[in-house]
Symmetry: C2
Subunit: 352 residues, 2 copies
């Protein structure tokens, strides 16, 4: 199932390590980046953020989004940039506005409750075209990166996006979203299809704007029973993977230890792993052809540098080749920068 | 490893189904109860709660705690009562007061940050003796139940209690608590030992006050990497299981799919399962001798009654014998009462 990606002739990347691993090619060391690297761990990010009205101003101003996307390349020298944005731009493009409340997280003043709410949502190319600020941010970033490293674009997986659109905010249980799956599965499927159509159009426009690679985040994968994950999550991620053929794509279904075999059947290049998963167990379940991404415990970066270095090297050895180094979750905002740098530098000094 | 429990001669229970399953005896149908059954799903609970100053008044007033403990026996006719209380009475008895903030959850004005904070905590029998209101509630409940069903006492597992004492409140990541394990593992072990000593004394006093069975809740088991769960959680749960020899004990380590083999080695009678776990897989991992408790998806109780009944029966059949029926998590507060009753009645009508 390894997807064959034809390298586009205009790409002149000085460091294409992550793309080579995703394509199944030999590399001398694993590439490394961090989920949420463009964010609060960097003093230069916090300085810029402090001058703005809020998180959404940063997301919606292409020059600023590009600036914070490039900050970790300058500061940490990681092997990939990931565009600074949010998975919730998709519901917004579909007609459901979100707010980002400081120290609380996302909040939707309106939520999806019934068929009429789904009917009036925009979807597909028409909805995705609302997100010009993201495509502009990608184009600016791509130009300013000047080929230093590949640029990753991303989207939430349809189930995770539905969770927010129905629940209206973060939740320990997402019981409102999960109630919909039991009480009105047909409506859930209608909504998931609209989200999927929009996400596919959005990711294609991201590639057109310069994304060299894509990642789909299923942040709330782990709250569904296995049978519901198979029915309400996997088919829509599959549609996305099948639709994206020009660049490598990573699927990160957090806490979905019970769905690894199904994830292994997707037409994706890379599978992201949280910090509970054992590389050998995963390899057995997903088969030989995918690259694996992850999965150091993000809290390990609170440890002293000796422990960070040792654990990072052990992890690399346990994974073997076909591995993109990352944490098993987005880096936590209060992670000390020296710990992050020690992690990155340990990977960069490693040779297979 | 099945623990031999000598039935105490003064117990004259009319329904001892749950104890018989926990002891490994044959039963004609599985017993059923729900985690958090003594709570917001019942209108009579909400009516009483509305008259009080707050959650803690209910926890700390034995007559009222006994009243809400018995409500689900009257209303739902479940096979066990569980004392109305909170796992956070233990940190409070040790000297760390908690508040329960409406719609937000627990909050600790003071948290554990350093050695001196641990040193000044009370522990063991001295600390547990502070919780007379819990023992009184048990004694009243036991008397008022009149042997209708067994009474379950409970405590949080030491890792979960530490999480709250260090983090100070609920959290998506518990990164402060987890930071301690990396930055000061010795202090974490000191704190865990003090919590364990207090918990053992507390559970013994609960048994003396009338608890027929005990359950240990490791609510945040699932956020630790496997190696840390083995090092910081399992040894303390083991101490508790080893210390309790008079009544059956259940260990429920939520989301700890990676620790099932180790849980199977504990000297406990029953292992609680969240809704992700497959009974056959679990049986293979924990061995033949334990009873298993769980694990219907709590959101299934939002479905229509036909689906609840069918799914409940299927679950019972998949577990086979040695099974205590429950949900895979505490029942959600907005669960419709007819759905809960359908679930309970389906189990009670079942025959092996």
């Amino acid at each position: 199932m390894q997807k064959v990606i034809v390298e586009s002739p205009q790409t002149k990347l000085q460091n294409d390590l992550i793309l080579r691993v995703a394509r199944g090619e030999e590399v001398e060391r694993p590439p490394v980046w961090l989920m949420r690297q463009a964010g609060r761990i960097l003093p230069q990010y916090r300085a810029l953020r402090g001058k703005l009205s809020g998180f959404k101003e940063l997301v919606e101003t292409p020059e600023l989004a590009a600036e914070v996307t490039i900050q970790p390349i300058d500061e940490l020298d990681v092997d990939a940039a990931i565009i600074f944005s949010d998975i919730l731009v998709i519901p917004e493009a579909m007609g459901l506005t979100y707010e980002m409340i400081e120290k609380k997280g996302p909040f939707f003043p309106e939520t999806i409750k019934q068929g009429a709410d789904v009917d009036k949502l925009a979807s597909g190319e028409h909805a995705a075209a609302q997100l010009q600020y993201v495509f502009d941010a990608l184009a600016i970033t791509k130009r300013e990166l000047g080929g230093r490293v590949p640029l990753i674009g991303f989207a939430g997986a349809p189930w995770t996006i539905l969770s927010y659109m129905v629940e209206g905010q973060g939740s320990k249980t997402f019981s409102k979203a999960r109630k919909l799956l039991y009480q009105n599965p047909q409506l859930a499927h209608q909504l998931l299809q609209k989200i999927t159509d929009t996400t596919i159009a959005y990711l294609k426009l991201k590639v057109a704007a310069g994304a060299d690679m894509l990642q789909v985040f299923d942040s709330w994968a782990g709250i569904l029973p296995k049978a519901q994950y198979s029915a309400f999550a996997i088919p829509y991620i599959r549609q996305i993977c099948d639709a994206i053929q020009d660049v490598p794509i990573t699927v990160f279904a957090k806490d979905a230890w019970f769905a690894l075999e199904e994830l292994g059947q997707l037409d994706c290049n890379t599978i992201g792993l949280d910090w509970h998963l054992d590389p050998q167990d995963v390899r057995q379940k997903v088969g030989a052809d995918k690259a694996l991404q992850g999965n150091l415990d993000p809290c390990l970066l609170y440890a002293d540098e000796q422990e960070i270095a040792t654990s990072t090297e052990e992890m690399i050895q346990r994974f073997g080749k076909q591995h993109i180094v990352n944490l098993g979750h987005g880096v936590y905002p209060d992670t000390p920068l020296p710990g992050v740098k020690c992690f990155v530098n340990t990977v960069k000094a490693f040779r297979y």
